[in-house]
């Protein structure tokens, strides 16, 4: 009743049901038959994936998804949703892949397969303009540090940084914008974030914050899919390879980050 095109999650149920009962050996074949690849993403992570003024999905991830789909000969269908829904939606076959800045980690590899990385994100320490005391991770001790939910950074701080530098407090945020608002307000002393992601935010809101020091780590994001679909994995890796050579990646990186591909 509410202007159906808004609900971009109208999963094609016939294809789904057919997929389960006929049990074709190969998800990739099935996808080619239906001509569609269903892509899950958050939709709230500009400039990677977000909804633009025309209320269409847009961003780096979206362009990558479109290009990959084109290279393997299918149409992308985008489904946005809450983070935990995305995770379970992939396992529950509500869609085929996640292209939403999913960082490749050992933990995650236990439950899903990843393509070759398609972007490398440098993570920096970000502090208030006035702050001169925090320059590196060692300075975190006893401070209050913010990170975004759904990113891998919370685990990194807790399991890697904290044992090295001593205790500090971790605050997790639903989204990047609120973490930067609090950094600006002085409620947290620092955050670690991907500089690609926060540059436009800082400009838009006139936040008085800055990135300091060298990148503390580099995260590789990949396309996530259910385990045991070697054909699909192969096709996607093939597509990514082609995109690197045929200039597609070059265009997408220039369009969103004004740099050459870092992969």
């Amino acid at each position: 009743a509410c202007g159906g095109n808004n609900n971009n999650a109208n999963v094609n149920n016939e294809g789904e049901a057919g997929g389960q009962t006929a049990a074709p050996a190969n998800l990739f074949e099935e996808m080619k038959q239906s001509g569609k690849i269903r892509v899950g993403l958050m939709g709230t992570y500009k400039p990677y994936n977000f909804m633009n003024e025309n209320q269409e999905l847009d961003g780096f991830d979206v362009d990558v998804a479109k290009a990959v789909a084109e290279h393997i000969g299918v149409e992308p269908e985008f489904i946005t949703g809450e983070f935990s829904g995305l995770i379970e939606g992939l396992q529950g076959e509500k869609y085929d892949v996640l292209i939403s800045q999913v960082t490749i980690t050992e933990d995650r590899k236990k439950t899903m397969d990843f393509s070759d990385p398609y972007v490398k994100n440098a993570v920096n320490i970000v502090v208030n303009d006035d702050n001169t005391t925090i320059q590196s991770l060692e300075d975190f001790k006893g401070k209050r540090i913010g990170v975004g939910l759904g990113t891998n950074d919370e685990k990194y701080l807790r399991d890697v940084v904290m044992p090295e530098v001593g205790n500090f407090e971790i605050a997790t945020y639903n989204d990047v914008i609120t973490s930067l608002m609090d950094l600006n307000n002085g409620r947290i002393d620092a955050t670690i974030n991907n500089v690609f992601a926060i540059q436009p935010l800082i400009e838009e809101n006139n936040f008085k914050i800055k990135a300091v020091g060298e990148p503390i780590k580099e995260d590789y994001a990949g396309i996530a899919m259910r385990k045991d679909n070697p054909e699909l994995l192969e096709a996607i890796n093939g597509a990514l390879e082609e995109m690197k050579t045929d200039g597609t990646f070059q265009d997408i990186f220039q369009k969103w980050f004004k740099v050459d591909p870092n992969i």
């Binding site: 009743a1 509410c2 202007g3 808004n6 609900n7 971009n8 999650a9 109208n10 999963v11 149920n13 789904e16 049901a17 389960q20 939709g43 709230t44 992570y45 500009k46 977000f50 909804m51 633009n52 003024e53 209320q55 489904i79 946005t80 949703g81 809450e82 935990s84 829904g85 379970e88 939606g89 396992q91 529950g92 076959e93 509500k94 989204d175 914008i177 609120t178 608002m181 436009p200 935010l201 838009e204 809101n205």
Partner: protein, 214 residues
């Protein structure tokens, strides 16, 4: 504020989903609540136990988990629901548990003498319930139903987990787009408030009408 006006369309579409989900789930929730309330009061031991368990589990666990299980858990048992269907089902089940308690209290509040008078006139238990008890219980149940309904209006926001873009999610998408939060949040707060006022108004009218006899 300009941004809000520019995207009013989009927000209104979200509000429409919110309203639609609320109304549909309320409708079925009312039916479930009534059946469960009567089951708890009049059923045999097994049925009463079942109804108690239902209320305890549903009220005791977060609705977000319930939605999650209906949408992402049931496919393991071959039940594959549309997002909106999953939202309707889980919210109806949830609202039904709360309303059953409201109804149970309201039914108990009707004087026992009313049942006796009806029985002594030769009515069956079921006729007594339908013609005598429920009409009187309805009046008592309206104010707490207001609480439940208005609460539910906002709980619908949790269905964004099954990829339905209702009002809150619409705002979050816009916030991600424009990197500005406060105006959108205030705008949707106003919309929720207006919707809740409409609900309150309707319930007040019904209450007044039912109270006319007293």
């Amino acid at each position: 504020m300009d941004l809000v006006l520019q995207n009013l369309d989009f927000l209104l579409r979200g509000a429409c989903y919110t309203l639609q989900i609320t109304i549909v789930s309320m409708f079925f929730g009312l039916i479930i609540g009534l059946v469960v309330a009567i089951a708890r009061l009049k059923g045999n031991l097994a049925i009463r136990g079942l109804a108690r368990g239902y209320v305890s589990i549903i009220r005791g666990t977060p609705i977000i988990v319930q939605i999650f299980i209906v949408y992402y858990g049931l496919p393991d048992y071959g039940i594959n629901l549309e997002p909106l269907t999953a939202a309707y089902i889980s919210l109806s089940i949830n609202i039904g548990a709360y309303l059953s308690e409201t109804f149970r209290g309201a039914i108990l509040s009707v004087d026992k003498g009313q049942t006796e008078a009806a029985l002594s006139l030769g009515m069956t238990g079921w006729q007594t319930m339908r013609k005598i008890i429920l009409p009187q219980a309805a009046r008592v149940a309206i104010p707490p139903m207001g609480n439940t309904f208005i609460g539910m209006l906002k709980e619908t926001s949790l269905v964004s987990i099954v990829t339905v873009t209702e009002l809150l999610r619409s705002a979050q998408l816009l916030i991600a787009q424009y990197y500005i939060a406060m105006p959108f949040y205030i705008a949707i707060a106003l919309m929720y408030w207006m919707m809740s006022m409409v609900f309150s108004y309707i319930l007040d009218r019904i209450e007044m009408k039912l109270a006319k006899a007293y």
